[in-house]
């Protein structure tokens, strides 16, 4: 019987096995390595944890495509994509810190339990040094807490709730995607411009954390503009037919309907609202309007023509004309034949940002990565100048206000960018009440060893 040196698990370093007999026990979480899953071979493993089943499976599939593209670019394949436009030039196309990037995938099922199980298996079985992905805030918060506990880095995917980098922020977790507060702050001025300052809004809000934070954000910022909120009704997550919530809207005095819904809820509530002919009505002498604070182009497709002319916000859109976006759309489009979604963009950016941070830190040690990412300013990833704020690990960048396009030329051409709200306007203090107040702290980075 001979001893084969395992390369998959970082903990089992050569030293630990050298000169061993037939059996060699080592303590997994002991001081065998400097940090959790330290890569010792010629490769480094990243864990891509995305929804592959359930309602967000298509979004997850797009995230996975972006991850595969990012890995290809990091390992020197393809045209390099946004690595060429990224302001930091540490990445050389030779993997990360000279180690070839490998990856494992898992299915979050958009359930916190399943997502944690899958992330744990990546950490425990496959030796993943970083976990990334996801398409809902429930999953992001759950997996972020897990990564904090286990001592690996979590690079959040699509998660929009304030809580991810607010009330539930963690030192080992980072979010590139924007959040509810930013949506509200970016939308309000545009809405005031388009629809006037004297409006009465009716909110329909998904009855869970993300819905609450989004409603709060949009309300606060629109009320600051002079709008009045006449009613806010909570709708169950499992609701599919929103008719009984939409029908009474016209009986109120409201002339704007805000749909704080995402995904399937958004498609159905928007479709129902348009069915009821709300947009053809005149109330208080004004055209009745509908607003969707968070747009996802991928999901908006499900609402078909109903999105036309409806305002919302989004993290990124493929029609942007800066160099970074163009480079990303080109390499993604050429590989897969269609433009990337905002979910794909944010996950691609997160992978690059992680790799770059490791290069700059000179280590995969989570604490090194945290230090490298905190307060990091960069450009060239499609959102203009961006800051990874040290206080809450949230990216601060321009926010796109978009509108459903009236005359789409293709099935991807659904949204048009109306305005790019500058970052200054969406920046907030890390301690505001919406973000959990001063009680919410990051804690300290955990290297897991």
């Amino acid at each position: 019987m001979s001893i084969i040196k395992p390369t998959r698990r970082g903990v089992l370093r050569t030293g630990a096995i050298a000169g061993a007999g037939l059996a060699m026990p080592t303590i997994f979480t002991g001081s065998a390595s400097a940090y959790m899953n330290e890569p010792t071979g010629s490769t480094v493993t990243l864990g891509f944890n995305v929804p592959q089943s359930g309602p967000y499976a298509d979004e997850g599939a797009d995230e996975l495509r972006a991850y595969e593209l990012a890995v290809e670019h990091l390992n020197g394949g393809g045209d390099g994509g946004m690595m060429n436009t990224f302001s930091s030039k540490e990445l050389k196309g030779n993997g990360i810190l000279g180690k070839k990037v490998e990856y494992v995938t898992g299915d979050t099922q958009t359930k916190a339990d399943a997502a944690r199980a899958s992330a744990k298996s990546m950490i425990e079985k496959d030796g993943a040094i970083m976990i990334t992905g996801g398409s809902s805030s429930g999953v992001a918060v759950a997996v972020q807490a897990l990564c904090q506990e286990a001592g690996v880095i979590f690079m959040a995917g699509l998660t929009h709730s304030n809580d991810t980098t607010g009330k539930d922020k963690k030192a080992n977790g980072f979010r590139h995607f924007f959040n509810s507060y930013m949506s509200g702050a970016a939308l309000a001025p545009v809405l005031a411009n388009a629809y006037g300052k004297d409006r009465k809004a009716y909110h329909l809000t998904a009855d869970y954390n993300w819905g609450y934070t989004t409603e709060e954000a949009v309300r606060e910022s629109t009320e600051a503009m002079g709008w009045e909120t006449v009613n806010a009704v909570k709708t169950p997550l499992t609701q599919t037919d929103f008719s009984s919530y939409i029908a009474p809207v016209l009986q109120s005095d409201a002339d704007v309907l805000v749909l704080n819904h995402y995904g399937g809820n958004m498609i159905n509530s928007l479709t129902n609202a348009v069915q009821f002919g709300l947009r053809d009505k005149l109330v208080n002498g004004k055209n009745f309007e509908i607003i969707v604070p968070l747009y996802s182009r991928l999901m908006a497709r499900g609402a078909g023509e109903n999105v036309k002319g409806i305002f919302g916000s989004t993290n990124w859109h493929w029609s942007l004309q800066d160099e970074g976006s163009k480079a990303f759309v080109k390499s993604f489009g050429e590989k897969y034949g269609f433009p990337p979604s905002q979910a794909a963009h944010t996950t691609y950016c997160q992978t690059l940002l992680y790799a770059d941070a490791a290069e700059r830190a000179g280590t995969f040690n989570p604490c090194g990565i945290v230090e490298a990412l905190e307060g990091f300013e960069f450009d060239g990833l499609g959102n203009g100048k961006t800051l990874y704020r040290a206080e809450d690990h949230q990216c601060f960048k321009d926010v796109l206000v978009v509108k459903g396009k009236e005359n789409p030329t293709s099935e991807f051409d659904i949204l048009e960018v109306v305005e790019v709200t500058p970052v200054a306007q969406v920046t907030y203090d890390a301690n505001i009440a919406q973000m959990g107040g001063p009680d919410a702290t990051l804690g300290d980075c955990n290297p897991g060893a």
């Binding site: 059996a23 060699m24 303590i27 592959q52 995938t105 339990d113 944690r116 805030s137 955990n446």
Partner: protein
């Protein structure tokens, strides 16, 4: 042994040996081999296998013995989980109070639900339990957010009170432990190319499962168990003999609710987080499927079913196109592409499809569940050995119903 008849002792011993050596059994392939993908011997999955085993054993005490099909058992698991996390937040990071309180709270909740639901039988009972579970889920996800954490769930935080614990050191993340042993502490044994992981949390859960299994054998063989079977075979006749069956069924309901609470408590002990989707009807449906798949009414069946489903969920969903390509890379290009193309729909994001097909195959060809499959297999071996027809003489389990 322990007041069990011989065949039951043998079964218990088998279960003990299996759980004890699970780190070996679940890791049959060397780390660097292609087949390592199918290794299930890492802490999280091993913990889940035994915890859901407990859940299914408990469910089987109700469904297997009395025939009452509860479609809301996940609610007890969820309520137990929430109680467990609150104990960890309020009292101590030691898991013992969390587990005990989970069992008690789940027991109390199941007493309430059972007392109401057991006024009806058959499908009416199923729908009543389903209704309670769905209400628990919906409320936990929405209006009860202050207590349950809603969408983002409940987790221990650095700033929690934990009145029994000394203050954490600066910069330490709160982690659940048993007198200082952390749940994710492991020993790794390296033999050749193999790595075997012995995890603290797993063995704690495994001890609980062996005890739970032992208790379920005792219940199955007791006069109480006999009474429950009588309820299943003919409740009316039982009532005519002047026996009020409800106290018995209610007791079975509460016991199985407490098993679910134990599973919930262990889940949060291993992984300190509880979310509402744990109570969704699909979670209740899952334990029904586990039990039927393994063989309802048999002792070992539910454990097998739980293992089968959890293993598939965690292993098959992680196989991606990349891995497939490495598997078939030894073949010529065209052939390997063909194989990859053929298998691709069934792995990764298609794991549900595989599971669905397996459900159908098992129930069509093995009406008694996996246990019957085991018996058939054992029968084949016996036939080969001594040439006698003794497929029914298997000692490994009670006959499937």
């Amino acid at each position: 042994m322990f007041g069990l008849r011989k065949s039951d002792s043998v079964l218990l011993l088998i279960v003990i040996v299996l759980t004890l050596f699970a780190p070996f059994i679940l890791n049959p392939f060397p780390e660097n081999s292609v087949m390592a993908q199918f290794n299930g011997g890492y802490p999280d999955l091993m913990q889940r296998l035994v915890i859901f085993g407990i859940f299914a054993i408990g469910f089987n005490i109700l469904f297997g013995l009395t025939g009452y099909l509860s479609f809301g058992h996940a609610a007890f698991l969820g309520v137990g989980s929430y109680a467990g996390v609150w104990m960890i937040k309020l009292l101590t990071l030691n898991v013992i109070p969390a587990i005990i309180v989970s069992v008690i709270v789940a027991g109390a909740f199941s007493l309430l639900v059972g007392w109401i639901s057991l006024r009806r039988s058959g499908i009416y009972f199923s729908i009543l339990t389903l209704a309670f579970a769905q209400m628990s889920y919906s409320l936990a996800y929405s209006v009860l957010t202050p207590i349950t954490g809603g969408e983002t769930g409940l987790q221990p935080k650095v700033g929690d009170p934990r009145i029994l614990d000394a203050a954490l050191e600066e910069g330490v993340t709160p982690r659940a432990n048993l007198f200082g042993m952390f749940m994710n502490d492991s020993y790794e044994l390296v033999i050749g190319g193999w790595i075997f992981t012995f995890n603290v949390g797993y063995y704690i859960a495994a001890v609980c499962m062996v005890l739970a299994f032992y208790l379920s054998i005792r219940i199955f063989r007791s006069p109480f168990g006999l009474m429950l079977r009588a309820v299943k075979s003919n409740q009316q006749r039982l009532n005519y003999t002047g026996i009020e069956s409800k106290p018995y069924t209610l007791a079975a309901f509460v016991i199985s609710g407490m098993y679910a609470g134990l599973a919930g408590g262990l889940l949060v002990a291993m992984d300190t987080q509880a979310g509402a989707e744990r109570m969704f009807w699909t979670a209740s449906g899952e334990v029904v499927l586990m039990t039927i798949l393994g063989g309802a009414g048999t002792l070992i069946g539910p454990v097998l079913g739980a293992g089968f489903i959890k293993y598939f969920e965690n292993i098959v969903s992680k196989i991606n196109a990349n891995i497939l390509e490495t598997w078939f890379s030894f073949m010529p290009d065209g052939v390997s592409d063909l194989f990859v193309g053929l298998i691709y729909p069934f792995i990764g994001k298609g794991w549900h499809l595989t599971l669905g097909i397996l459900f159908m195959l098992v129930v069509i060809f093995l009406p008694g569940g996996l246990v019957q499959g085991g018996q058939k297999l054992a029968g084949v071996f016996k036939n080969k050995k001594d040439g006698s027809d003794s497929a029914s003489g298997s000692t490994s389990a009670a006959p499937a119903e």
